[in-house]
């Protein structure tokens, strides 16, 4: 399973991450900023609680009637001339995509950011076959250049990298010679990738929400790479988690409004693109062929259980941007492509307790995530349910030790509290103010800092990828 991004154990991952000062700094700064932007956007819209409730209701209704809506969606995609493949497992999904690539004799594939394609290990399949795949989202491209370094955030995957590090990556891997100015580097990537878009045979995207009634898929982006990926190549393959669907455009309005504000604090992102089937016969650009791959990969096992609420998730990352544990251990420490509160609940469900048993403990139960989740998922309640379930099954992870480490570390370095961006600090102090720290720390062990670790970025995805084969 490619959800897993590291073969180190949780304790080791935390230790490595915590010695990475660059990461801690960028994460703390970014988290504060995103938290603030989300709050401003929610306040500006007004009636935010009503919006959230509508979001929750829409998602619950879809989950309760998921077979019906997927049937309607697939009927309509077919009617529009598209192909729908239902994939029970990750392998079924990648096998189908492999078959299309072979049929089309495609050599180059451009990809727009998509969590579910990460989850099913799409790139590994493509690379195994010797085809070229180009990640076109800037953040994903940075990580791809960095030998598939693991993402640390679901919206801003290269959040843990500083501009200086990014410059080095581009210099080493893409022949970049400019400064570490973000605008200059962005322009470089724009020029660099333009010909990839023009040469690509296939464009692969995710799907933020499908619309059952029209057979459409929607993509929520800012960069324009998803538009290029669905305008220039002859074939478009969209991959969606099976629960990412709404009944009609009326509900799409609500969930998109919630998503854009919660994820990036924008009223709408730069591009909301609704794609309905392949291009019309009289058009000359856009894909001639459209495939929709609907992925289960463990999701149906969550339906009908006490964890069903997690399937409402719209992947906005607001919970991640609010989480004090994430702030202090960083995204890569979770060892999953889904970090933070959402990841701590979802990763063990999709990937099993063997690999992710510690994650439900990477939480202080402060419940800040409840308050920001646009679809009102009771994340920390679900984490507790994981702990109960594991106790029932006599699974004993490194247990509370992990969470304890977070607070030992922070306590030993008060500078982390002080230099934190205002908002983040407010979360943190809020946490302590509620009385004591919400977990029992036990005797505080002084944390000794070893500065000369060989690989401060954590294990690269490539090493991990090699090891798992």
């Amino acid at each position: 399973m490619s959800m897993k991004t590291s073969s180190k154990n949780f304790q080791e991952r935390i230790d490595v991450q915590m010695q990475n000062d660059v990461m801690l700094h960028t994460v703390a700064h970014a988290q504060g900023l995103m938290f603030e932007n989300r709050q401003i956007a929610a306040d500006k819209l007004g009636n935010w609680e009503q919006w959230r409730e509508m979001g929750k209701d829409i998602r619950d209704h879809v989950l309760e009637n998921l077979d019906y809506y997927l049937q309607q969606l697939s009927d309509n995609v077919k009617k529009n001339g598209g192909h729908v493949f239902f994939a029970q497992t990750a392998i079924e999904a990648t096998d189908y995509i492999e078959k299309i690539i072979k049929e089309k004799k495609a050599k180059k594939i451009v990809k727009a950011k998509s969590m579910v394609t990460e989850e099913i290990g799409l790139n590994q399949m493509i690379l195994r076959n010797g085809w070229q795949v180009v990640e076109t989202d800037l953040g994903e491209y940075i990580l791809q250049c960095d030998d598939y370094n693991a993402p640390s955030h679901i919206v801003v995957p290269a959040l843990h990298k500083s501009r200086a590090q990014i410059r080095e990556i581009f210099k080493d891997k893409a022949g970049y010679t400019g400064t570490d100015n973000p605008e200059e580097m962005t322009r470089f990537v724009r020029e660099h990738l333009r010909h990839d878009f023009l040469e690509a045979d296939i464009g692969i995207t995710g799907c933020n929400f499908a619309v059952a009634e029209s057979g459409s898929i929607s993509l929520v982006t800012n960069e324009g790479n998803a538009r290029l990926s669905t305008t220039l190549p002859k074939v478009h393959i969209a991959v969606m988690g099976m629960e990412r669907i709404v009944p009609t455009f009326e509900e799409l309005d609500i969930v998109i409004s919630l998503l854009c504000r919660s994820a990036v604090g924008q009223a709408l992102t730069g591009y909301i693109t609704a794609l309905t089937g392949p291009r019309e016969d009289d058009n000359c650009d856009g894909p001639e062929e459209f495939h929709l791959v609907i992925v289960d990969n463990g999701r149906s096992d969550i339906l009908g259980t006490k964890f069903q609420d997690i399937l409402r998730c719209i992947r906005c990352a607001a919970c991640i941007n609010t989480c004090p544990a994430y702030r202090h251990i960083g995204g890569q420490a979770y060892g999953s492509i889904y970090p933070g509160p959402i990841g701590a609940v979802l990763s063990p469900l999709l990937g099993g307790y063997d690999d992710f048993k510690e994650l439900p403990y990477a939480c202080t139960l402060c419940k800040a995530c409840h308050d920001v989740c646009p679809v009102k998922i009771p994340l920390s309640d679900l984490l507790l349910k994981h702990r109960e379930k594991m106790a029932d099954q006599k699974i004993t992870p490194l247990a509370e030790r992990a969470a304890v480490t977070v607070f030992n570390y922070v306590n030993a370095r008060p500078i982390l509290w002080n230099t934190s961006v205002k908002i983040g600090a407010r979360i943190a102090t809020g946490l302590i103010k509620k009385g004591k720290l919400p977990i029992n720390i036990g005797p505080i062990k002084e944390w000794t800092n070893t500065r000369d670790l060989p690989n401060p970025d954590g294990e690269s995805f490539r090493t991990w990828f090699k090891n798992r084969k």
Binding site: V156, A158, L159, E213, D253, D285, D296, S300
Partner: protein, 250 residues
């Protein structure tokens, strides 16, 4: 209105029944094939945004939002001023092209009814009009070389500074995508408060069984990214510059 032909290719569905039966089973019931009524939304706060605004107020909001939040310009002009306005804008956006500037126009009939793009041609500026019959290669080549793309927007949304584009044979996807600068023309009578009204219109189309355009874009300003240290950079893979031109048709 735009007329979109449907696609000839016939679609297909694989592995559906097993997949959906499993879902129904996990939900602890039989498959649902019909009679699922989508619940009415509990609140109407989405309809309340700018509900009582006149077209002029919507226009003012749009101008303000694009300026303050998106850092771009929205003009409001009379139809008769369109050619002159575009001449100025194109010259501005082409100024970077040392020798010769290129502008790619949508062939949307509503746009071409308002001006003749050839009027904008001069020694330093060429104009091309999207022509689907010339095929993918020729049109994409023009789009790639063009400094500016001019398109006609169905609607504009005041709340988010958004223009709504429908693709068609006359208005390809690449026009507002490949050139460095985009100019969006929208009628004042087509200004809407927010996404809610635009999606309602789509819903109504869909209910009549009409296939909606294969590519609908809600575009808010030029492309951007914040993937490096969350610093906003305007101009990522899509256009770097954008201007909205509202035609006062009321």
């Amino acid at each position: 209105m735009l007329e979109n032909k449907t696609t000839k290719v016939s679609g297909s569905i694989y592995n559906r029944d097993k997949f959906l039966n499993n879902i129904a089973e996990k939900l602890g019931r039989n498959r649902k094939y019909k009679n699922v009524i989508r619940p009415t939304l509990k609140y109407s706060c989405h309809w309340e945004v700018m509900a009582d605004f006149t077209q002029d107020q919507l226009k003012d909001e749009l101008i303000k939002f694009t300026k303050e939040t998106l850092g771009m310009q929205t003009l409001c002009i009379k139809k008769a001023q369109l050619a002159e306005t575009l001449r100025t804008l194109c010259a501005h956006y082409c100024a970077k092209a040392d020798v010769h500037g290129n502008t790619l126009f949508s062939a949307d009939k509503r746009l071409l009814a308002m001006l003749n793009p050839q009027d904008l041609v001069n020694a330093k500026h060429s104009v091309h009009i999207w022509d689907a019959s010339a095929g993918y290669k020729a049109n994409i080549k023009f789009a790639e070389q063009a400094n500016v793309g001019v398109v006609f927007a169905e609607y504009a949304l005041a709340e988010s500074g958004t223009v709504v584009l429908y693709n068609s044979a006359l208005q390809g996807r690449a026009i507002s995508l490949l050139p460095e600068a985009s100019i969006f023309i929208v009628l004042k009578s087509s200004l809407l408060p927010r996404m809610t009204q635009a999606t309602r219109i789509l819903n109504e189309k869909i209910k009549t069984g009409e296939r909606i355009p294969s590519c609908i874009n809600f575009i808010s300003g030029p492309s951007s990214t914040a993937d490096i240290e969350l610093i906003k950079v305007v101009g990522a893979h899509g256009p770097i510059y954008a201007t909205y031109v509202i035609i006062d048709d009321m």
